[in-house]
Amino acid sequence: MTKYRLTYFHMRGRAEPVRLMFAVAGVEYEDIRLSRDEWANEKTSGKYPFNQIPILEVDDEVIAQSRAIYRYIAKEHGFAGKDIFENARIDMITDVLEDVLILLVRVYFEKNTEIKNRYEADLKTKLPIWLGGLEKLLIDNNGGNGYFVGDGLTWADILFVHQTDCSNFQPSGTDLDEYPKLKALRERVAALPSIAAWIEKRPKTDI
């Protein structure tokens, strides 16, 4: 049986989609959480391909880069599309979610008020285009009452739920009230028993 070791900080961050997929698939893994000090010591040990976390160890192999990890686990455990085109649609959706995340993170971590306001204003102009585009893609998939792509849960849905879950991390105006299908998708996926159970039992962290 494959041995999985996931290493990240003690937060949801970029590791959570992996933890969510393992929870749904019922896969055992080591959920290693490093403190800042531990990471400072580990970082340049040569174990981490780009001196970053998360990494996923799969038996003797090491995969770095969060999205490479998501895609790999998705394919191994049934969260990928059924063909190349469905996977391309998933990639498109998750790439946009990444664009959104980068801007959200930028706002969240900026200390200088003036710059933070500028970043937030920039986010507010882009969000309607991105969320509007995602709402439309969801509706294009059989009316939007199922999942983003195809007939089943994929890592696009997982990533979406994870990102919209960082609720005390949202600048104002990023709730989903104007995007009813996205909002319903988020609630539907978060309520899946294995996901609800993991959300209940996981370590509680800010982000």
């Binding site: 001196n51 880069q65 969060s66 895609r71 996977n87 391309a88 790439d95």
Partner: protein
């Protein structure tokens, strides 16, 4: 029969690896280049799912996001490794190249000359060795590093690398690959690939 249509600006940018994929695979496509003055009305037309380019249209299929397009075509053309693990390694390398590419690109946009010089020195001291050192190591780990980044054949990670490397001398003021011999040799090898060579000769010449 449907024909692939790729739309982007008249630059190499993030579409160039896609154009190179078509070249290597020997697949015909429409290489649509939107002029800056056309873009506002194009964007407003609603044709672009997320208001940006590149997009790929193929019959009823429409895909946005450069890596989604590149990965899709690489999978279709057999240029994305053979196993899930190989594909994961391709993704990892591509994401890392994207990270360092963005850092370099951001630096290049700095207007203040003094700050730019400082940032350039900093990136050459920290990020370049971290990323390029790691990539050189990954390449060497692949059977000595005289082939490609992953597996036995060319993948889109190699093409992404080649395409990015075209910017390094301009943006970093030197050919940094001199310090990373296996990567330098890979770049030179791809440069000599007959279909890439043909594309390089016939493609529109643009600064970026």
């Amino acid at each position: 029969m449907a024909k692939y249509q790729l739309s982007y600006f008249n630059i190499k940018g993030i579409a160039e690896p896609i154009r190179m994929l078509f070249a290597v695979a020997g697949v015909e496509y429409e290489d649509i280049r939107i002029q800056p003055e056309q873009w506002p009305s194009e964007k407003a037309s609603g044709k672009y799912p997320f208001g940006s380019m590149p997009i790929l249209v193929y019959g009823d299929i429409k895909i946005a996001q450069s890596f989604a397009i590149t990965r899709y075509l690489a999978n279709e053309f057999g240029l994305n490794g053979k196993t899930n693990l190989e594909k994961a390694n391709v993704d990892m390398i591509a994401d890392a190249l994207k990270d360092i590419g963005e850092k370099i690109g951001k630096l290049f946009q700095e207007q203040d000359e003094t700050k730019k010089a400082e940032k350039l020195a900093e990136i050459k001291r920290t990020d370049v060795p971290t990323y390029f050192g790691a990539l050189e190591g990954i390449l060497k780990d692949n059977k000595g590093g005289d082939g490609y980044f992953v597996g036995d054949d060319l993948t889109w990670a190699d093409l992404l690398f080649f395409s990015q490397s075209e910017y390094y001398p301009m943006m970093l003021n030197e050919d940094v690959l001199i310090s990373y011999p296996k990567m330098k040799a890979l770049r030179d090898r791809i440069n000599e690939h007959p279909r890439i060579k043909e594309w390089l000769e016939k493609r529109p010449k643009t600064e970026y």
